[in-house]
């Protein structure tokens, strides 16, 4: 029998990979032509793009009209972007008086100017930005948008367009997350009364369509309030939308809470942490991280759901565009209107989605083995 003993004395050198593993050709082969089915799909997709893109570009850009006073001025074959240009101010601010629009601009400038550094990693002084956005900014925004302290009052009936959409979306988003967390914790509480209240709240708001909730807030609620109480329509809308969103948020957060292993609770308890420290320092940071996709999903849904306020007579971004396209000067421009609305909504939603992915990556500490 041959000698089976073997000892390796030198290690094999690393060789460069064969051309089938790297480079453009390899990429094409792996991604587009890996099988006959894949090749077929690739060819079909290229053909579809060839059929769709040229007419789309010619409609949207090459044959489009960019200026004019009415639809009659749009004489070429393509899109009539003149409508958007003429009505742009209204799309952004609704019926907000033109002379006061700087207040809206300043308000959103302050908001985004402090929100963006808060969201970017490694910006110093985040604590101060957070204090500003969440504590100082709301009264400032109220003063700027609504008036007071020498600023002329602008009734909320005049609010509209993208500004109204942004107000509705940002307020509901910012309020619904903490509220949702509270309800999620309450639903998992050991105290039966707290748990019952939270379950009832969540199931009530989640079991009713948003349109119904909006109608209740704007039409029914005033009937139950004592006569003479004035309760602003937008404020009522904000409250019902925040509650509605909070109910969804609570369930998303609860999913995250349930994913935290029991050992984490025990380790924190064993070190003498009380309930709030345990939740605030150990459980919630991990649970929220897990459900970032769900939270952002709810945010995006909420952002688009703000368009439903048109049923209670508020002119948000979408409904003011619809109103413009039914004006006698611009009849026939509804396609342009919806395309524009879709692009703006898409930019916001895509932005949120990208940010959530960045956030997930940043917070990943590699514990999913």
């Amino acid at each position: 029998m041959a000698d089976i003993s073997f000892v390796r004395t030198e290690s094999h050198p690393d060789l460069p990979p064969p051309s089938s593993e790297v480079g453009i050709i390899a990429w094409l082969r792996q991604n587009l032509f890996s099988s006959w089915m894949n090749s077929l799909l690739t060819v079909a997709a290229i053909y579809a793009l060839y059929k769709i893109l040229p007419p789309l570009f010619s409609w949207a850009f090459f044959n489009a009209d960019w200026s004019g006073k009415t639809y009659q001025d749009c004489t070429s074959e393509g899109a009539c972007w003149a409508m958007i240009r003429v009505r742009f101010g209204q799309f952004m601010y609704g019926f907000y008086p033109e002379a006061e629009r700087w207040r809206v601009n300043l308000g959103f400038l302050l908001f985004f100017g402090t929100m963006i550094p808060l969201l970017i990693e490694g910006v110093p002084g985040k604590k101060y930005f957070a204090i500003f956005v969440f504590i100082l900014f709301p009264p400032i925004a109220f003063l700027l948008f609504y008036g007071g302290l020498g600023l002329e009052a602008v009734d909320t009936a005049q609010w509209g367009g993208l500004m109204l959409t942004m107000v509705l979306a940002s307020v509901t988003i910012i309020v619904s997350l903490p509220l949702g967390i509270v309800f999620a914790l309450g639903r998992r509480s050991n105290m039966p009364v707290v748990r019952m209240i939270c379950v009832c709240f969540i199931e009530l708001w989640r079991g009713v369509p948003l349109i119904t909730v909006l109608f209740m807030g704007s039409v029914m609620l005033p009937l139950f309030l004592p006569p003479g109480t004035h309760f602003d329509k937008i404020l009522r809308t904000l409250i019902v939308m925040a509650f509605f969103a909070a109910a969804y948020m609570a369930e998303v957060v609860r999913g995250g809470l349930q994913a935290i292993p029991k050992g984490q609770f025990e380790a924190a308890q064993a070190m003498g942490m009380n309930y709030w420290k345990l939740m605030g320092l150990i459980v919630l940071p991990q649970a929220l991280k897990i459900v970032i996709p769900g939270i952002v999903n709810t945010f995006i849904g909420l952002f688009k759901d703000t368009t439903l306020v048109l049923v209670i007579g508020l002119f948000d971004f979408l409904s003011i565009i619809q109103a413009a396209t039914t004006h006698k000067n611009w009849l026939g421009t509804s396609t342009e209107g919806y395309v524009f609305a879709a692009c703006v909504f898409w930019i916001f939603c895509f932005g949120m989605s990208r940010y959530s992915i960045t956030l997930e990556r940043r917070l990943d500490t590699g514990h999913r083995n």
Binding site: G263, Q264, A267, M271, T365
Partner: protein
């Protein structure tokens, strides 16, 4: 095990009572998990608790820091009796450290943050001081260079050593170990046991649920054998291993020592 005598010789047991358990019973629903447990632990004792799985040994030590609630009898830790009183429970938990089978490090925090979190938030230690203490204990468990990593980047043995250091940062007077080596790969067990032996040498009161009989022989001053929720036998390690009195102990020892 050559230095058996010297190791045990340096560790003194005082007359002061650290933990007293009197006539304690516990049920999970209908199931009677712990039956009439009586133990007195003196300060400086190193007790190893062993027994077949399901014998209630983990439940017993988890009752000591109230991760499990007992329904009858008394548990007195550091002169504080464990009742429904939350203040008393928190006070005891600050004095009693616990190391778990699955480490239970906080995966979203770095190693250093894992070690300083409880001192800062529970004991209100200033951050700089907490970090200094943390580095001291990380050096004692021989992994100071991992301070800025996350738990997910460490091996099982390293994670368990961090978990021990994390408990020590709270400056506990009693340490509980719940099967600290049973989730580890064989080659990592000794690095964790070495840390535990080192800890025993400092005079720490330790209660350890483990099947590491080598460790029991080396550091324990008492071995408790449990089966079916009862304490069947307890003795000094030499006597316990060489002269088990009860049949159940003999059977158990023959099963774990046979291979």
């Amino acid at each position: 095990m050559t230095n058996l005598d010297t190791t045990q010789g340096t560790m003194e047991v005082s007359d002061e009572v650290a933990i007293q358990i009197i006539g304690m019973h516990k049920w999970y629903g209908d199931f009677h998990v712990l039956k009439d447990i009586d133990i007195t632990v003196y300060r400086g004792e190193r007790i190893v608790i062993c027994g077949p799985s399901g014998s209630g040994k983990s439940t017993l030590i988890r009752c000591i820091n109230r991760l499990e609630e007992h329904q009858q009898g008394q548990i007195i830790v550091d002169d504080i009796e464990l009742t429904g009183d939350l203040k008393g429970i928190d006070a005891i938990r600050r004095e009693v450290g616990m190391v778990f089978q699955h480490f239970n490090l906080f995966p979203h925090l770095t190693i250093l943050e894992n070690l300083t979190l409880a001192p800062i938030w529970v004991r209100k230690t200033p951050k700089a001081e907490a970090e200094e203490t943390a580095m001291h204990y990380l050096e004692r468990v021989k992994i100071p260079e991992q301070a800025d990593k996350f738990p997910g980047q460490l091996s099982g043995g390293q994670q368990q050593r961090v978990a021990i250091a994390r408990s020590l940062c709270m400056n506990p007077r009693i340490m509980l170990f719940d099967e600290p080596t049973s989730a580890l790969d064989p080659e990592m067990i000794s690095e964790v046991l070495d840390v535990m032996v080192g800890l025993a040498e400092t005079g720490m009161t330790m209660l350890c649920v483990t099947h590491e009989m080598g460790f029991a022989r080396k550091v324990a001053n008492r071995v408790i054998f449990m089966d079916g929720g009862e304490i069947i036998e307890q003795n000094e390690p030499e006597e316990f291993f060489n002269n088990p009195k009860s049949e159940r102990t003999q059977l158990f020892l023959s099963q774990i020592l046979s291979h």
